[in-house]
């Protein structure tokens, strides 16, 4: 055995790490907790997306009440071509009826080039029916414009005079960026997996150690509190990483099963992308563990630690969800822990170029922050006030 390998195998940090890892792997509760989040998260997401896709691609007609259809058969035909048809079934409870009323003098008005009144009655504040109402309005405008063009042409006027601005819409949304919203939430799952998966182990090796009455004896052994904390943190980080790994592998697999192409989304996650994701979760796993150890070393029991940790979990969740839903775009987000990884994950998934420098910086900042917290826990445990709860 070389000097180096002997040093490593006998280093207190490695000894603590090895023991804690073995202990944790035998703890079915910890293993289940780590794996279930990583496993059920993607599954839950798959179900939610599946429903979203079926709703988005819903090709069914808008069924409404049409009063006075007999006065304007051509108009009603036009509407039917646009998927707006007369309703045969009664309206379901709780849904406001949408009614289109055509005036009995429709034919006269059209013939005399007058305005033909059509009344659209609906609850315009209803979010559920918003897209239906929008479709009807678009169809009405379309028909109105068609008639107008014919009238102008009959009078020898170029219909273009009434549309002085020719709006040309160029959709620059790539398939990748359209999928960003869906992917954004998937990335939150990946990000949070490192926070959830190591949690049980982190509690067990800190508050659990205290509850079992073994903390005092361990602290009385010839190792520094820093070595002990680092060994424990690395063991819990392994669990956090195992969860992260599992969700990085499972989520792209879930995407492949979903009919995402139906809503014009394509996701290509290469093996290289997955390796990069895993690499950037590493510092985050250490930070997550450090935060969890910090609170649970202060707790006197497993239960107390669980309560504290649930607050700690809220923190990264709030940050990530906040950024995701407020659509905050600040270059600083690329450099800070948690958000830095989040932005990089989003860039990968959108197929955009990765900003390497910010990614490296945010990884280093994350590592540094984790390290500082671990050093602080080490100092904290050297204090008799914390150890004996004086």
């Amino acid at each position: 055995m070389s000097v180096w390998s002997r040093f490593v195998s006998q280093h207190p940090t490695r000894i603590v790490f090895g023991k804690e890892l073995r202990d944790a792997i035998r703890d079915k509760r910890s293993v289940m907790a780590a794996m279930s989040y990583a496993f059920f998260g993607p599954l839950l997401m798959a179900v939610a997306f599946f429903f979203m896709i079926t709703q988005l691609t819903d090709p069914s007609d808008v069924e409404i009440d049409i009063k006075g259809a007999e006065h304007a058969p051509a108009f009603v035909d036009y509407l039917a071509q646009r998927g707006i048809v007369e309703r045969s079934k009664p309206w379901p409870a709780g849904q406001h009826p949408i009614t289109l009323t055509i005036d009995e003098n429709w034919a006269n008005h059209i013939a005399q080039a007058q305005q033909a009144p059509v009344t659209l009655t609906a609850d315009f504040s209803s979010t559920k029916q918003r897209s239906d109402i929008r479709r009807i309005e678009t169809a009405l405008e379309g028909y109105s414009q068609q008639i107008a063009y014919i009238r102008l042409q009959m009078r020898g006027i170029d219909p273009r005079v009434i549309s002085p601005i020719d709006v040309v819409k160029q959709d620059t949304a790539t398939k990748g960026s359209r999928s960003a919203l869906i992917m954004g939430s998937a990335m939150i799952f990946i990000l949070m997996s490192v926070f959830f998966s190591g949690m049980n182990v982190a509690i067990d090796i800190s508050a659990g150690e205290r509850e079992r009455n073994s903390l005092e004896l361990l602290l009385s052994q010839p190792l520094t509190t820093q070595q002990m904390v680092l060994g424990k943190a690395l063991a819990a980080s392994c669990f956090a990483m195992a969860g992260g790994l599992l969700s990085v592998v499972l989520i792209p697999w879930v995407f492949r099963l979903l009919p995402l192409h139906e809503i014009g989304i394509s996701v290509v996650i290469t093996t290289a992308d997955m390796c990069l994701m895993i690499a950037m979760l590493l510092p985050l796993a250490l930070l997550a563990t450090a935060l969890q150890l910090f609170v649970s070393f202060r707790a006197k029991s497993f239960k107390e630690a669980q309560t504290y940790i649930s607050f700690v979990l809220m923190l990264p969740m709030m940050v990530v969800f906040g950024v995701e839903f407020t659509n905050t775009k600040n270059p600083l987000l690329y450099y800070t822990p948690v958000t830095g990884q989040h932005q990089a994950l989003l860039d990968i998934i959108k197929g955009e170029a990765i900003q390497w420098l910010p990614l490296v910086i945010s990884s280093l900042v994350t590592l540094l922050l984790g390290w500082i917290i671990l050093r602080f826990i080490g100092r904290m445990l050297a204090s008799e006030k914390v150890v004996f709860g004086l």
Binding site: R6, S9, Q10, V16, K19, S214, P222
Partner: protein
């Protein structure tokens, strides 16, 4: 040798140690006898550097744990007040963990663990996980943890609390054997019979101070009593009288 010189320790308004001094020489069993709350555990925790004394010092072979905690801790084996075991580890893994924390290589540790298990007659439970161990079996694991690295000093905090007759006998036999080998043994207790049966010298502690010191016979002679129990009550009682 363990030397305690003029230790003082204050927790808020409570004085836990009030100028405590004694020595625990090699090849002797020293009993720290005192009622609950006398400062015994505080004293032991100060010796291995978990607590810092306000003044005074505790030396293990001349090493002060408040200055060089790791060096001091390498010299001692600790049998704690409450011994929590790692329920998911086997007895062998548990004891090997402590052996390696004391710097033993894996090979050395496994030999040492085997020897200590033979000595304590616990080979039958060596590869079982700690869940479901009886109190006696737990005590043996804790004891094996404390002596696996063959320390020159052994510190035991209330060792016989909650032990059955058989376990107590095993413990006493082992302590006598270690004394033979020149280990200095310091143990705290509030059980008189225990101390009388084992100790070469008794340090009676009350309110953080040494109130009497000597062999069992010397203490009895000091108080004019024939049994240590009576002597103990008299010593403590007198002390309380003075304090009040």
């Amino acid at each position: 040798m363990i030397e305690v010189n003029e230790l003082r320790k204050q927790f808020g308004k409570v004085t836990a140690l009030d100028g405590l001094s004694f020595t625990a020489p090699e090849g002797k069993i020293t009993g720290l006898l005192g009622p609950n709350g006398a400062g015994k555990t505080t004293c032991l925790r100060t010796i291995y550097g978990l607590l810092k004394a306000d003044s005074g010092q505790a030396l293990i072979d001349g090493v002060d744990a408040s200055i060089e905690p790791l060096a001091a801790r390498r010299k001692i084996g600790i049998f704690p007040d409450k011994f929590g075991l790692y329920e998911r580890l086997t007895a062998r893994e548990q004891v090997a963990y402590f052996a390696s924390l004391h710097g033993m290589t894996r090979a050395d540790a496994s030999v040492a663990v085997q020897q200590v298990f033979e000595r304590l007659d616990m080979l039958a439970i060596a590869d079982r996980r700690a869940t479901g161990f009886s109190q006696g079996q737990r005590m043996k694991v804790a004891l094996a943890q404390a002596i696996v690295h063959r320390p020159q000093h052994l510190i035991l905090d209330e060792p016989s609390r909650g032990l059955d007759v058989m376990s107590t006998r095993i413990l006493r036999d082992l302590l006598r054997e270690l004394r033979q080998q020149g280990t200095s043994i310091l143990f705290s207790s509030h059980v008189m019979q225990e101390v009388a049966a084992l100790c070469d010298q008794v340090v009676v502690v009350a309110k953080g101070k040494v109130v009497a010191q000597g062999t069992t016979e010397e203490l009895c002679a000091l108080t004019g009593e024939t049994a240590l129990e009576e002597a103990f009550v008299k010593i403590i009682g007198t002390d309380e009288g003075i304090a009040a």
